[in-house]
Symmetry: C2
Subunit: 298 residues, 2 copies
Amino acid sequence: MMRAIAADPAARGLTDDVAVLEIGGQALIVTHDIMAEGVHWPTDADPADVAWKLVAANLSDLASKGAEPIGVLLGFCLGNNDWDARFANGLQEVLDRFDVPLLGGDTLSFIDRAAPKTLGMTALGRASYRPVPARCGAVAGDVLYVTGTLGDASAGFSCLMSQAPATPFLLNAFNRPVPLLKEGRALAPCVRAMMDVSDGLLLDARRMADASGLAVLIDMATIPLSPDYQTLRGNDLASRLDAASWGDDYQLLFAAAAGTSLPVEATAIGHFTKGTGVSLSYNGQLVPLPATLGFEHR
Amino acid sequence: MMRAIAADPAARGLTDDVAVLEIGGQALIVTHDIMAEGVHWPTDADPADVAWKLVAANLSDLASKGAEPIGVLLGFCLGNNDWDARFANGLQEVLDRFDVPLLGGDTLSFIDRAAPKTLGMTALGRASYRPVPARCGAVAGDVLYVTGTLGDASAGFSCLMSQAPATPFLLNAFNRPVPLLKEGRALAPCVRAMMDVSDGLLLDARRMADASGLAVLIDMATIPLSPDYQTLRGNDLASRLDAASWGDDYQLLFAAAAGTSLPVEATAIGHFTKGTGVSLSYNGQLVPLPATLGFEHR
């Protein structure tokens, strides 16, 4: 909806997760995310976890640009006092954990307290490397890499919803994702394109391919799965597709020239070619895309 | 609620409307405001006016710091398509009018469309003068000034609510406030403290006095009222108190040393003294404060 209005080059056509501004010879990275009850967290979620995730998701956007956080601003609609107090404690905890100051924001009272809560956060960071990695920039022949494992947040969430037992690892992956700030800074000089996986690997990989004017072919057999995920869901193609199309992973997805020596552990999961869209292979055969590649905001 | 967490000096203890960051030798000003249906605009408001006011309120915060806008980010929950389209048109119009780019943001779908809409906006600006004017800094003996006239938005809004006829001037004051960017930049070098009047003059003046560790005495007879306001509501003490305690004025309120030559037209409405709080006089007599000084967010 807003793309036509965001014509300034700093907006990167809204095809990136962040804006990049030149200020006094430095590149300032700015990102704004909203999260809503019933979409990003279940109504009975621990407010401290909600605060954690709001901050972590924003910092993950900074991480994917190789940026060092400067601080955050919060937009908060006051509601239930107990919820708000627990949110504030969680906010303090996550900001301390990542050593990021709360710089300001706005609170609002007097609105419909029965309405689903929405939260807004703006994060500011300083680029550690120029040019600042973007979604675009991959070149045909580049390898697509992802850090860590995928699908753990999805598995943690589905256990929560079905009240099935889940391992602390899976629950933490959903409730307390860790933004890969150090890894993002280390990778920034080595990548041709980078973003975080927040909306589902397949959707985010397609966005990187689209932004780069290329196609991407992903080998589903290489999708990295944790032992906990495999114990719960197995590791067949269906469970790999699930892991690659849910989101909330907050891993770093990047394109690098074949043969690049990487400063961070990552898994090669595919490569870019001429063409458009995302294609999948499994055991040497092309396989169909799932109905949903990930979570669409618009 | 958030004050205890915002310990970083850039946050200015959340007693200012903005954060001030040092980036590459420049002072970056960042502010975030939220607005909600039923609080900041009536449900049947023109969405283009809502967009205008959201942008204008944020830019007014920049104006009060003498800052030049760099751009804005929007947090927007998608709802009714027609409303959203009209909002987008209004957003384009107001951004064009003040020559400010939309840099990014986030949109969200799938939430309860019957819930009151909330919008978030982050504005970034570059300080034109250092030190950046703050709420604090007034000195005993300083004169309190305000630009323009007060109460016009209040009068426009009450006409709208009661379906009484209103002049275009009063309606515009409510629907399409103008951020005083040029005036703020001109005043920044001349003031000891500055803020915009968004929550009611008496409340905002008290905040400036509190932040400066002083009392402020306001002469109600000097409160500037427009001809349209006076025609509608008269100019007696009660109507002056109304004009000074409603908000949405987006005028600049500032402290300057007595005798300062001002580059912008403004009205002297009081002065700072030792002590605390805000006191009012009228025709040489102290008069009681109204029950409500303005709009409290927290």
